[in-house]
């Protein structure tokens, strides 16, 4: 799952469900979501976790017909999604200094971080790590999501 900021129009989010080898099964993306000024003031620092994780992430996860076993996000603020779903959520650890979370798991050539209040997610991922090929790159599908989001935004804006 990944999001993209569209100039002046807010954020769009995309969720690509793949099998364990990275083959795409289903893709869902949102139209742009933009908080109003009141929301920006009142949510303060919790605005992005609410917007990206709860609102966009929650909508996408509810929408997909193929429910994933694990949601991988690239933005640690999207870990907020985990507070609103029973599905484990992991964040790719690109820069550990940004994170407050401390639970780390290595898989698919990447470090994954989990929500501090859902540390069990790490054990869940570990129990299924054998399903992920050694050469898999967990970040790669997120690039596809961003590319698909860009294409969607471009197409929608052109209409």
């Amino acid at each position: 799952m990944s999001t993209l900021e569209v100039d002046g129009r807010g954020h769009v989010g995309g969720l690509l469900v793949t099998n364990h080898t990275g083959r795409p099964l289903e893709f869902q993306c949102t139209t742009p979501v933009k908080p109003d000024r009141t929301q920006e003031i009142l949510y303060g620092q919790s605005l992005r976790p609410w917007l990206l994780g709860e609102l966009i992430g929650g909508t996408l996860l509810n929408r997909v017909s193929i429910k994933p076993d694990l949601v991988v996000v690239c933005d640690h603020e999207m870990l907020e999604l985990r507070n609103h779903t029973r599905t484990p959520v992991a964040c790719l650890d690109k820069s550990s200094s940004e994170f407050e979370t401390t639970v780390v798991q290595s898989i698919g050539g990447r470090q994954l971080r989990f929500h501090d209040e859902h540390a069990d997610d790490s054990a869940f991922v570990e129990s299924r790590a054998h399903l992920v090929p050694d050469q898999a790159d967990l970040e790669e599908p997120l690039g596809r999501v961003r590319e698909a989001l860009s294409e969607t935004v471009k197409t929608v804006l052109a209409r």
Binding site: L16, T18, T21, G22, R23, P24, L25, E26, F27, Q28, C29, T30, T31, V33, K34, P35, T38, L42, L55, I56, T59, L60, R63, V64, S65, I66, K94, G108, G109, R110, P133, D134, Q135, A136, D137, E140, P141, R144, E147, A148, E151, T152, T155
Partner: protein, 607 residues
Amino acid sequence: MTNDAANDDSAVPIMCAAADLSVSVETAATGYNPALQRIPQIDTNQVQLNTTLDYIPAWKPRRIPIKCIGLTLPEGEHFLPTKEAKESASDGTQLRRINPKANAGANSSDRPKRTRIKPPSGAVSLQDRLFYLLQPPLETWLAGQELIMPFEPFPYQYEGIAWLFARHSALLADEMGLGKTMQTITAIRLLLRAGQVHRILLICPKPLIPNWQREFRLWAQELPIVTVEGSSSRRRMLWTMPGVPILIANYELMTRDLVEIPEEERPKFDLLVLDEAQRIKNRDSRTAQVARDVARRRSWALTGTPIENRPEELSSLFEFMDVVPSRACPDMRQLARLADEHILRRTKDLVMTDMPPRIDRDAELQLTEAQTSAYESAEKDGIIQLNDLGDAITVQHVFELVLRLKQITNYDPLTGESTKLERLTADMEEIAASGGKAILFSQWTKSLDWLDERLQPFNPLIYHGGVPTKKREPILDQFKNDPDAHLLLMSYGTGAVGLNLQFAGYVFLFDRWWNPAVEDQAINRAHRIGQKNPVIVTRFICAGTIEERIDRVLREKRELFEAILGDGDNDNVSLSLNADEIFGLFDLKAHSKDGARSIGPANPKAA
């Protein structure tokens, strides 16, 4: 304060405090305004304090409505699991999973190259474009647990696979030897896996069917393939049998069988692949018409020589690919634009920079005494006969003389003398002594049989159209595996296309074909991927003969079509001789009482 508290008077504390209301007034010394010296009067009014607010700002969190756009990707075909990587393919090739370089963390410069599938320009709908964008990079897809590849494809092959995967109309025109077969099989494999195709028809020349079967076993052994062969009734059953993902047939059977099946019963395909697609270069040919009539959603053509003679041949291929209307005749500029979109062509020079070189050498030979005598006599008599024909002459008459002279340059039928055989024997002794292997091409099976008798010390093997199909594969196997078999004698027609003979380091063109593109195809049986050593190509040309004249004409025409297929493609696109040029090989004159005048074809392009 809550509303309840505000309504309860007893709960409201009353605050009282004394205020000093004295005011001091200073006046100017001039005393002009004595009124200012009066003490100001202050009145007080009692005002009731409000106990409720006029405006209470209210805000309730609301959920922003979000719309979603979704795409469910089709479920692909499932096949029986492949054998474990440690096992071998049927031809003994060790199979393994591709294992790209491990991820190198966040350092993007260390990451392995990724070949992404790009949406074709014809994909208009968002869903179509997303389908292609969401596919994984080929390197990771092919490295997945479900696919086993015998070898890691080259980067340009990954690009070719991605290009084919995304196209409904495609002409893969890579130079011979760059792996068109493998790229096609892998693209088919991925399309089946992605649920984009379910039923594929592959048409190729008959001699290449064993090659395709072998390549499918090598590159996609889990895919079931069925070859159309056998009796008429059996073939009819195979054409229409449901549940066959890949059907392979030769051009002749396609042309013969499909028209005999009632239209409503004719099979429909998701993909039709024409190998050696130059077979449909003539759009009016029966083969081309039948190919165009096959019901299909995707049309791919494979050929190393998209233009053999005239640019118009491309029009026929484009018509098959449904990118030009029926009978359309695009001009050169339009052809170039269509080629940009629908043709992918790479040459060895561009992509295989580390491939061993091909070393061409023209062996200019002098005819033996007996050959010279026979040649001069035949040429003199032949020209006299042609001149006598006058305006009744046809290109066929001239062609027959050319053939007769070419045969004499191979060997004198009367004495058996052959300058080419002498040179060949000398070369073969050296090749055999070093344990090497050579392929020899001739346009005549009779010449091949003649050579076979005279080259026995080198254990020659013969491979031409007269050899039954079932015996051909064993011949190639013997040539590959028997260390004493040093020479394979092949005809251009049978051996020039589709075979992988990269273990041979020498190629002899005993006589010249009419079209250098066909010669290149023949040479590339040996000079192709997998070749570890330079390939020495020897063209036998007898000085002062028809061979030299033909060679000169063909060389002069090699660069004409560069404009269509782009740079770096000067060597492999060429023209064969047309009628005008065949007439031009001789100085033909019709003699009459008015004198001599040149004679030529009624239609110069009718060859």
